[in-house]
Every structure is written in C-alpha cells, then in structure tokens.
Amino acid sequence: MIKQTFKVPDLTCSNCALKLEALEDTLRGVKQINASYHKLEMTVEYDETQLSAQAIIAAVKHSGYTATLV
C-alpha cells in the first residue's frame, strides 16, 4: 500500500471533492481517497500492484478534473 498526493487545481466546490472521493467505489485497488477543495488536492491510499498513479490521473480526468502528482 502506498499513499500519494495529487494536486487538483480545477476543483470548484466541496461537492466536486466528494465526487472524487466516490472513485473509492469504482477504482480497483484503492483503499481510501481523501479529497479537499480547501487545499485543491487529493490523497489516495492504494495498492500499487493493482493500480498506478497514471490510472488514477486518468480516472480523475474521466470525472472531469485534472490531477497531477505532487
């Protein structure tokens, strides 16, 4: 398990952050996602054998936002 932080500069409200956290339910290998509109970032705890940072960035993009690894 690793924990990585991503910057998501185009979050516009708290609901957008909640939308990113909902990726917990769809992304295989994710243990926990904490997204913060206040900090414009998300922290993802995931199993690196099942998921990559690039796949997370792609999933975020699919949700309508842009993520970059810190």
Binding site: T12, S14, N15, C16, L18, D25
Partner: protein, 394 residues
C-alpha cells in the same frame, strides 16, 4: 459504475406548487376570520397556519432564509456548470448549461419541513421553557451573513482563503451518505435546510410561539408542518425561476449566482446588526448620516405625546414615527399600538434594554423606559432586523 441521475421533472414540481396555492386560496375563501390562538378547531388552525405560510410566511421567510437556500443551490450549480464545461470540450456545439436546480430545492425544503415539524413537537413538549433570545438570533444571523459573504467571495475567486467557507462534511458522513443515498450532493441542501430552524423569520416566530402555547407535541408538530408546507411553494417557485433565469445567462452564470449570494449575505448580516441595535446597520447608518432627511420623513407621522407617555404605531409596513422624539431625564412609558398588525413588526425588540415581546395583533402594550440623558439614542427593531427605528431623547 457511473449511475445516471434522474431528477424529478421540474414542471411536475411547479404544478404541485400551483395546486397547493389553489387549494390554499380555496381554503382562504371558505375561511372565516378566526384568531390564531382562539378556541377554533384543530383543522381550521392548521388551515390558517398553512395559509399564513403560503401568504405572508413564504415571502417573509424567503427574506431571511433565502440566503441559505441560495448557498445550497450554489454548490449544485457550480457542479453542474463544471460538468457542462467538461462535456463541451469534446463536442463542436455545446448544449446550453442545464442546471438540476429542482432536486436540491426539494431536498432543502423537505429538510426544512422535517426540521420545523420536529421543532414544533419539541416546543409543544417544552411549553414556555425554550425560546431563542433576539441576541442569540442576531449572533446566528451575523454568523450566517459572514458565511454567505465568504461564499460569494469564494465564487468570485477573490482569495484562496475563502475556499474555507465551503462546507466540507466529515468523511464518515460522506461515506455513509455515499453508501446509502443516491448522490453526494444531497448533503449540503439537507444540512442547510435543517439549519433554517435557527433563523426563523418574524412570522415563523409568531407561529413557533403558537406551537409553544399548544402544550402538545402532536399539535405543535402539526401546526409547524402545516405552516412550513405553506411557505414551500413560494420558496420553490422563486428559487427555481431565479436559477432558470440564471441558466439563460450561461457565460455570466457563476458570477450571477455569486452576486446573489453576496447580496443576500449583506442583507442577512445587516439584519443581524440591526437586531443588536448596531450603529453599523444600514438603516442606523443612514439615519445617523442624514438626520434631517429622517426627521422629515418621521415628522408628519409623529403622534402628539402626552406627558410621560410616548406612542409608537406598529404597522404592517414598519414603525411610525421611525425617529421617535422623547423628553430626556424622566421616566417614560412607551406605548406600542398595533392594529391588525401581522407582519414581523409585531415581534418588537429594544436591544439596549434587552426588551423583547411578541405584541398582540391588535392592542396596546406599555414599556417602561428608564430616564435617559439628552442626546441618547435607543434603536428599536423587529426581530428580523427588517423594520427599525430610534428613540431620540432631547
């Protein structure tokens, strides 16, 4: 798995609202003029509560609680707007922004109805044990006003610090909602709808006082349910039409919403300041800056005063005279005269004297004023901070 949200057709909601208005008007037509706290039947009291909500209550509450509704809608609008922009990146011709405003409005109103029904039951149970003092309400209104101003400035991207005005619910709550409810966007309208219970408007307070007097949890709950249900169509129609109108503006939509939140924030903050008699409240500020203008408007309505007694007319549209002149250095009786007054002006507050009373719709209430030095100004206000005035001792 992405689930497609199917919002309730707004047309259906508006139709329900129109039907409710029609029902209320029919009830009104068959309704004899009955005093609220009189010995009328349960059914007619509930009908009267509903009609009061539909007429004066809806607009009056919208003035106070509209900001909370706007704040909850703002979150949904921002999200829908962002989603529309994302979709638009890959298509040549972008469809106009469609905002699912009906759903959060419904959530907000449902939560509000539930909160007030529970509160009505509590009041009925507690009797006269539990009341919100004007000072506490003022603090809440100021806090909510600041919250809304912060949110408006956040939406205008004035400074990153204002992002902290956006509510981020605790993670355990969002997880629970996500697992049990249809969407995460349900939290804000539900939370803010329930919060309206802490900032009741003047008419609502009158109704809460009635619920308090019932001494029955069931009756108290039914009364508040009927009243809050009555206020809902006005809330819905105004909020829905406002957001739909906003959607037509598209490019300036977010700025439009932010401006509405800012304006309502100023109004709420100002009401809170007026309620504590602050000289910074807009009405008090203009009265102090332009005393001659204030004196002119109040002079023709000044009632001839008897020795030791000053009289203030409490009307549906406010207090007359707004600047009440009183002799200094002597104890006085302030007579408050109401005559079929049903607006929030009835809920009379003198912050400096810590005086607060819900006046009878028609009648005279006397307040003892201790001697004051010449030049002293004592502001008075309704409990919503909408109608204000000042007693000037000279």
């Amino acid at each position: 798995m992405k689930t497609k949200k199917t919002p309730i057709d707004p047309v259906v909601i508006v139709a329900i609202g129109v039907v409710l208005i029609a029902l209320a008007l029919i009830s009104l037509a068959f309704q004899s003029e009955a005093p609220l706290a009189g010995s009328v039947s349960l059914a007619s009291q509930l009908t009267l509560a509903f009609v009061t909500g539909l007429t004066t209550g809806g607009l009056s509450c919208l003035a106070v609680q509209g900001g909370l509704l706007a704040s909850s809608l703002a979150q949904q609008i921002e999200q829908d707007y962002a989603a529309n922009l994302t979709k638009g990146k890959n298509v040549k011709k972008r469809a106009p922004a469609r905002v699912n405003s009906a759903f959060p409005i419904l959530l907000f109103l449902t939560s509000k109805i539930i909160a007030y029904t529970v509160f009505g039951a509590l009041l009925g149970w507690l009797g006269s044990y539990f009341t919100f003092s004007p000072a506490l309400r003022a603090v809440l209104m100021i806090a909510i006003g600041v919250f809304m101003l912060g949110n408006g400035l956040r939406m205008f991207n004035v400074h990153p610090i204002f992002r902290y005005f956006s509510i981020e619910p605790p993670k355990f709550i969002t997880r629970y909602i996500r697992q049990t409810a249809k969407g995460v966007e349900t939290f804000t309208p539900l939370f803010l709808g329930a919060l309206t219970v802490f900032i009741p408007c003047g008419v609502t307070q009158a109704m809460l006082a009635t619920a308090l007097g019932t001494g029955s949890p069931m009756f108290g709950a039914a009364l508040m349910f009927a009243f809050t249900l009555g206020t809902s169509p006005v809330f819905f129609i105004v909020a829905y039409l406002t957001t739909e109108l906003g959607a037509k503006l598209e490019k300036t939509f977010m700025r439009f919403v932010a401006a509405v939140v800012l304006i309502l924030g100023f109004v709420t903050l100002n009401s809170g300041l007026a309620l504590i008699g602050s000289p910074l409240a807009f009405q008090n500020l203009t009265r102090n800056l332009f005393p001659s203008r204030s004196a002119l408007t109040s002079a023709p309505t000044q009632v001839p005063q008897t020795a030791g007694i000053v009289t203030l007319s409490v009307l549906n549209r406010g207090y007359f005279p707004q600047t009440l002149k009183a002799p200094a250095n002597q104890a006085l009786a302030l007579q408050l005269i109401t005559n079929e007054t049903y607006s929030c002006a009835r809920d009379f507050v003198i912050p400096a004297l810590n005086f607060y009373q819900l006046l009878p719709a028609t009648g005279t209430v006397e307040v003892n004023l201790p001697p004051q030095k010449a030049g002293t100004k004592i502001p008075f206000t309704c409990s919503m901070g909408m109608y204000t005035g000042v007693i000037v001792f000279e």
